[in-house]
């Protein structure tokens, strides 16, 4: 699908701040707020914009949170390739992301649970037992520095001189 310049502009703006109102987008893009709102609607309908979740640093909350990256080797199935097995996996609530990879393993998962124990039990009870899953390798995330292009604990320092010619 080819997008108009306006739609690309809307995507750039929302990517930076999903809360931007159609009025402000209109001011930034030089169109009417109706046009901006319509562009957003179309992008949502076409599935280009899939959701608007906030990026949260859970480490700053009291909620227990364990995240792991899991490499999974699987046997692809006739006619389905990796799609069917990927679906079996991504339907689990704990699974936050699934990617098909080139290289030494097939699927890369990002899995999240509220304790180490639950995450371990997810891997051993749910994931490893799925038919066609050959092996798993689990790597626990110790600290997040940068997520989706956003630095988690950015020291907000504008080093520039406050006024310059």
């Amino acid at each position: 699908m080819s997008l108009s310049q306006l739609e690309m502009g809307v995507l750039d703006i929302l990517c930076e701040d999903a809360r931007t109102t159609p009025e402000r987008m209109a001011a930034m893009l030089g169109c009417t707020s109706e046009q901006a709102a319509l562009a957003v609607k179309r992008l949502e309908e076409e599935g280009v914009i899939v959701g608007y979740p906030a990026l949260i640093n859970w480490d700053k909350t009291s909620r227990e949170n364990v995240k792991a990256i899991i490499e999974v080797r699987v046997t692809p199935q006739r006619d389905m390739g990796f799609d069917a097995i990927a679906e079996r996996i991504y339907r689990f609530e704990e699974v936050k992301a699934v990617y098909l990879m080139s290289g030494a393993y097939d699927l890369l998962l990002e899995v999240q649970a509220n304790s180490m124990k639950r995450l371990a039990s997810f891997v051993s009870q749910r994931l490893a037992t799925i038919e066609h899953v050959l092996s798993t390798a689990t790597h626990f995330v110790l600290k997040k520095y940068k997520v989706d292009g956003v630095i988690m604990e950015e020291t907000n320092s504008d080093e520039r001189l406050a006024v310059s010619p």
Binding site: G9, D12, I13, E16, D17, R24, A27, M28, L29, G30, D158, R160, L161, A162, V163, S164, P165
Partner: protein, 394 residues
């Protein structure tokens, strides 16, 4: 000792900077938002920084050729040709300088004989007039105004020419006004200049930040103008590299050879790490088809529209600035001087902007607002200014 007397008469005559006062106040103030910054808020891309670090690790800590490394000069020639259709011989016509600022000084010192006049569109960047004075010349301001979007007109130019006119400084896109000169505008100036011996110093440091349909037009690409033009540019604005102080000067070979004499005896060469970084900026820029410049420009363009709209909604006249990263609204309707406006705004609403008068007499009645600041801060500042304007409206 009376140091006031010891300083040269020329230095004594140079007035203090018109922005120093605001800088001192803002620096002490908490929660102030500054729209007074004349440099990008983007940080230098990491690949560029990394290549400077690598150059240190490799032990590239020595002098380079006076002109700059051949690799960098070739990359600059290629960049100028690709982006602006400018043709310069990298071996004889390009000098790598310490910022475009050094280029301004070099060009003026190389051209001026005592008492020569140099025409400077007014308002313009703060350093032209002092550099002209230091070179022994006389700066002649040529007024531009908001009615014509601060573009320099051929009539004003013709009226300012005298037998002593040695050069004209063109600085478009312009700091502080954000004005640009499109092809037709430049052609009209070329017509006036073609029968004279007046040289043109074209400071194109904001060339990549043009929000017009057509990209920036370099004056030297106009028929017959290359021979009389010294083109200045640099890495500060296009690659967010202000602190690196990397620029370049381009001029016909015979002229460049003379100019390089000053450079070689005063500076020797631009810093070698900066040159390594600048080379990476051009190589990676070319590899990704200058996508990061385009992205930066789109971001600036969106903030620019926000800010222009905000000023117009306040009821202030604001011509559409199509270049650089400044908006230059007119505050005359409030009956305050530019300086009074800026000072009161800073104390009452904690927003720093720069009085137009810091850039020349024609800047009276205007303020320079930079949108090289995070979008939400630009928005917040606009709300504060609106509150201030509402309160002081007469």
């Amino acid at each position: 000792m009376n140091y006031e007397e010891i300083l040269s008469k020329t230095v004594q005559r140079i007035p203090p900077s018109g922005i120093r006062k605001f800088f001192d106040i803002v620096s002490e103030m908490k929660d102030a938002i500054s729209l007074g910054v004349g440099e990008p808020d983007f940080v230098t891309p990491w690949n560029i920084c990394e290549s400077a670090i690598y150059s240190l690790e490799k032990g590239q800590t020595h002098y380079t050729s006076n002109w700059g490394t051949p690799q960098l000069r070739r990359a600059i020639a290629d960049y100028l040709q690709t982006r602006f259709s400018l043709r310069y011989d990298p071996m004889k016509e390009i000098i790598v300088t310490v910022g475009a600022s050094e280029g301004v000084d070099l060009a003026l010192r190389a051209l001026i004989n005592p008492g020569d006049e140099v025409l400077v569109p007014d308002p313009s960047y703060v350093s032209y007039a002092p550099c002209i004075a230091l070179a022994g010349g006389v700066a002649v301001p040529v007024e531009t105004d908001a009615r014509r979007s601060f573009r320099l007109g051929p009539e004003e130019l013709r009226r300012a020419l005298t037998p002593r006119t040695k050069a004209l400084i063109l600085s478009y896109p312009n700091n502080p006004t954000g004005a640009v000169m499109e092809r037709e505008d430049l052609e009209r100036l070329a017509q006036v200049l073609q029968d004279t011996n007046v040289m043109v110093i074209s400071d194109e440091i904001y060339a990549e930040l043009c929000y017009t349909q057509q990209p920036h037009v370099s004056f030297a690409t106009l028929p017959g103008m290359w021979e009389r033009t010294i083109t200045l540019n640099g890495f500060s604005k296009a690659f967010a590299m202000t602190g690196w102080r990397m620029g370049y000067l381009c001029a016909p070979a015979a002229l460049a050879a003379g100019i390089c004499k000053i450079h070689q005896y005063t500076i020797l060469c631009a810093p070698s790490q900066g040159q390594a970084a600048a080379l990476e900026a051009l190589i990676s820029g070319k590899e990704n088809n200058y996508a990061s410049i385009e992205r930066m420009r789109s971001t600036y363009d969106r903030r620019r529209r926000l800010l222009v709209k905000a000023f117009r909604e306040m009821g202030l006249e604001c011509f559409e600035p199509l270049g650089a990263f400044y908006v230059f609204p007119c505050i005359q309707s409030l009956g305050m001087s530019s300086e009074a406006f800026c000072e009161q705004l800073l104390y009452e609403e904690k927003v720093a902007v720069v009085p137009g008068t810091a850039f020349g007499a024609s800047g009276e009645g205007f303020i320079r607002c930079s949108y090289a600041t995070a979008t939400d801060k630009v928005q917040e500042a606009a709300q504060r200014i609106a509150r201030f304007v509402e309160r002081h409206r007469r």
